[in-house]
Symmetry: C2
Subunit: 166 residues, 2 copies
């Protein structure tokens, strides 16, 4: 097994939050959720073609600066220690965060307008993926210990209306 | 901006597929979807606590060996070139794959039973996250150019029944 792989930034995320302490618990918690942007480096712009028509994207980004990883910790909103891999906390062996964001089009060729980010301004972007309801959406998923702590507001999982396939 | 970050494997994925050419397009395409496993390295086992009660997880893994990234390509099931970031193809600047998997419990302390993987046997795992319906599930998301090509079978996005909050 190789010891490690190398990951390179492909751009930068811009959000209203300047310090980690100001960031929301997740991108759906602020209601209304502010508009944020993802600015992609010039050498990767060609890969942004064909994004029209996707309402949601998955962004992967590097959570830095973070302290060394911590396999058990007590989340700030909880009273007992939890295993790291049962949380979305930042102190992971590989501090890669994932957000499902609403994609609201381009503001210039290198700048995606998105909603539902939770990170500090200047966070480094490492991937953009199209969100596919057929493989990524499990509206009935059970959320274990996190269920009573989950964010539930106008931004969270949308009810299925008569015009949808639910 | 730093040039790169280092990512380390935390375990190995075991699937029925030995060659890339044998892998399904996505983990929901095989119907029924075979049981797969995620085996976590001893030094990270403590972080697996508190996973009981989650029905789904997000696994991040390193797609290797892959060729250099390719910002435009014609997917095998399509007829025209698409921007890489509007696809889930493997030839990315950072070849990190993401699958939303069904979690079916443990087979020993280091081994998670999961369904809906799409990668070759021996693929290296880099993160495990709990799947949260309230932030990760967008059942009505529009899928742009991929819509007519999307996988739709008994494994894909579950209809919302009377017992769910949809």
């Amino acid at each position: 097994m190789p010891d490690s792989f190398s990951v390179r930034p492909i751009g930068t995320l811009h959000t209203p939050w300047r310090k980690i302490g100001d960031c929301p618990r997740n991108g759906r918690q602020p209601d209304p959720a502010p508009l944020c942007t993802a600015r992609v480096l010039p050498e990767y712009l060609e890969g942004l073609q064909s994004l029209d028509g996707f309402s949601h994207l998955i962004l992967l980004y590097w959570m830095a600066p973070v302290k060394p990883f911590q396999l058990m910790f007590t989340p700030p909103f909880d009273t007992q220690p939890r295993g790291l891999f049962a949380t979305r906390g930042p102190r992971r062996p590989n501090p890669i965060a994932l957000s499902v964001v609403a994609f609201e089009g381009f503001d210039g060729p290198d700048c995606l307008k998105v909603r539902y980010l939770d990170c500090i301004d200047g966070t480094l972007l490492i991937d953009i993926k199209p969100y596919l309801a057929t493989t990524d959406s499990e509206p009935n998923a059970r959320m274990g210990w996190l269920d009573p702590h989950a964010t539930r507001n106008d931004n969270t999982a949308k009810p299925c209306g008569p015009s949808t396939r639910c």
